[in-house]
């Protein structure tokens, strides 16, 4: 497995972050590996964080229904942090899953320190919203 910093450098979320700051991010936050089938984000449980997928796939589940999947470079957990409410769905590792974890209390300070990451995150959210709207309108 490559250095966390090198993996982050390839992700669009961190594309605008200079190498020195990227190294600081890799030092500051932990990397975690989840075996296949393990819950990463838990419905109705408080206190989670933002998960950025470095490798592997995760699935969002409500009950037995699969809602969506996330792959390398994508992230989840931000809605719960932004709304200060526990997640409304489980996120489960579909394969062995490697993530960078930004704990909840660090989320806001981190984004304020890294406005370019915040902007990239907003772009990703906009794409998700558009996809959901297109899906709902049947286009």
């Amino acid at each position: 497995m490559a250095e966390v910093q090198d993996v982050l450098a390839r992700l669009s979320l961190f594309a605008d972050v200079p190498p020195a700051q990227l190294e600081a991010i890799a030092h500051r936050f932990d990397e975690e590996v989840f075996p296949e089938g393990e819950r990463v984000l838990r419905k109705d449980l408080r206190g989670s964080g933002l998960f950025v997928i470095l490798d592997g796939e995760a699935v969002v589940r409500i009950g037995d229904e699969e809602v969506t999947r996330f792959g390398p470079g994508e992230f989840f957990g931000e809605v719960s942090l932004l709304t200060s409410e526990p997640p409304n769905a489980d996120v489960v590792a579909l394969t062995m899953l490697r993530c960078l974890v930004i704990p909840g209390p660090d989320f806001e300070p981190f984004l304020l320190e890294q406005p370019r990451v915040l902007y990239r995150m907003l772009q990703a959210e906009a794409r998700r919203l558009r996809n959901t709207t297109e899906w709902k309108s049947g286009s």
Binding site: A20, E38, D44, G49, M96, R98
Partner: protein, 500 residues
């Protein structure tokens, strides 16, 4: 030669093999015996118990305290909360041993006092170990593993590596070869009147800086990550080694604590030149040093386990672990000791467990031993409880349970309400309980800490497959056995108690 023949645990077949005779190996072996896993071997390459404490910390003082006197008896379970360094045992005579070796010149033990406490534990708890036996290789075999050692081959169904994070780790740095790693730091006197650059601002970096303050003419600590006082407030580091940081914050001459990503270390005619790109402001820093020490940490000496398929995290420094400290990729390979920090648990609000130090991993080892016992088909005791006993037990654990107080938000005390009655399930990882833990109706209590450092009791209730999380109010003196807590726990458990 005769002595070797008489050594315990000769090569052969065992249910479990434990590698390592530091605190984690000793605690795991002890706990396996108590969990009914008598057929296990314990060995290490060392020639005496103690592990890393036979050599580290370099400046001889631990960062975790022990109070030799406390409002409870030294050999009681309750005393464990006052003693972050002794191993744990069922027998009073094997409990709280480190305090007996402390000369009270500090509130923390010296390295030698810790080592003596561990050796005393091995004697009093009757732990046998084979010393001078080095693990050299690993193979998978039908039903388990073969460990190759300098004494011969050990076959086992399950292996526990309690081998510490003991290999010096150096990140890829230009010019790293010019620097000395922490493990090769010379005596403090050898840095007299020298400009010393320390790369790293975690425990070992500050430990060195603190030890060298009376000797070096100038000290510069540099690493990419900023010192976070809010995190340090919850760490033993604050009280122990922060003087260099305080000196820098006050603007004292000769001590610098900087945030920078190292660009390179160059050797010049009059010492070293270290350059770094600042990470918390724009610009490049350059400083001169007569010595450069890399306090960049350690990694687990995994030997050939990567080739066997053991997946790692933290830049390949530690194995990725399940909630029961098993390799996520090679079932049957477990880890004990400070390596268990790799299993983060729920980490609610990002609060980490104390698994990197003895006070935390001694409890992990006991939970691990029970888990391995069950894996091997050895039933673990689950005392039956009457309905009247449940709330007092859980309240008492919330108020005083050392496992819950030291492994906050990580270990939980669980009571199950199955068809055959109410059972005390003992201490388990909270994450295991939350994610199913067998699926039966049950309740768990844990002591948790929020992101801003508030300590509060938490109650988790699972009924009909649905889990509910209840975070109770904090209390200024942490008296979680008061009437209001008792009423809260009774109210939350009422539906389960009506069933049980």
């Amino acid at each position: 030669m005769e002595e070797r023949v008489l050594s315990p645990f000769p090569p052969g077949d065992y249910d479990v093999v434990v590698v390592g005779t530091g605190p984690a190996g000793l605690q795991t072996s002890y706990s396996l015996s108590r969990a009914g896993v008598g057929n296990h071997a314990l060995f290490s390459a060392d020639d005496a118990p103690g592990g890393m404490f036979r050599r580290f910390p370099i400046f001889e003082r631990l960062i975790s305290w022990t109070k030799p006197d406390a409002p409870c008896e030294r050999h009681s379970r309750e005393y464990e909360r006052y003693d972050n360094n002794s191993l744990i045992a069922d027998e009073p005579e094997a409990r709280g041993l480190v305090a007996g070796f402390m000369d009270r010149s500090f509130d923390v033990p010296a390295r030698g006092e810790m080592e003596a406490g561990l050796a005393d534990f091995a004697v009093r708890a009757g732990i046998q170990a084979r010393y001078g036996c080095r693990w050299t290789g690993t193979r998978r075999e039908e039903g388990g593993f073969v460990l190759e050692t300098t004494d011969g081959e050990y076959r086992c169904r399950v292996v526990v590596f309690a081998i510490g994070m003991t290999d010096p780790w150096t990140p890829p740095l230009n010019g790293a070869e010019h620097a000395t790693h922490y493990v090769d730091t010379g005596s403090a006197e050898s840095y007299r009147d020298k400009r010393v650059v320390i790369v790293g601002k975690r425990n070992s970096g500050f430990e060195l800086a603190s030890g060298l303050l009376p000797w070096a003419s100038e000290l510069t600590l540099v690493s990419p990550r900023a010192v976070d006082i809010s995190v340090l407030a919850q760490s033993p580091l604050r009280a122990r080694y922060l003087q260099p940081y305080e000196e820098y914050v006050r603007g004292s001459a000769g001590t610098y604590v900087l945030d920078g990503s190292i660009v390179g270390i160059e050797r010049g005619a009059d010492g070293f030149r270290v350059t770094a790109d600042a990470t918390t402001w724009d610009g490049r820093l350059a400083f001169a040093g007569d010595e450069v020490i890399l306090a960049t940490g350690f990694r687990v000496p995994l030997g050939d386990l990567r080739e066997l398929g053991v997946v790692t995290v933290m830049n390949d420094r530690v194995p990725a672990l399940t909630r029961f400290w098993e390799s996520v990729s090679v079932p049957g390979i477990f880890f004990a000791g400070n390596i268990t920090i790799a299993s983060r648990g729920l980490a609610k609000d990002g609060v980490a467990a104390n698994s990197s130090s003895v006070n935390g991993f001694r409890y992990n080892a006991r939970v691990l031993a029970r888990h391995i016992g069950e894996r091997l088909g050895i039933e673990q005791p689950r005392p039956k409880l009457s309905g009247e006993e449940v709330v007092p037990l859980l309240i008492d654990e919330l108020a005083r349970g050392p496992e819950l107080w030291i492994q906050k938000g990580y270990l939980a005390r669980v009571v199950s309400f199955a068809g055959e009655g109410i059972s005390d399930e003992g201490v388990v990882p909270l994450e295991h309980f939350v994610d199913g833990g067998g699926g039966a109706d049950a309740a768990a209590v844990a002591v948790e800490m929020s992101g801003n450092g508030t300590i509060y009791p938490a109650v988790y209730v699972r009924r009909g497959g649905e889990l509910a999380e209840h975070e109770l109010d904090p209390h200024p003196s942490r008296a979680f056995d008061g009437d209001s807590y008792r009423r809260d726990v009774e109210r939350l458990l009422r539906p389960l108690l009506a069933l049980g």
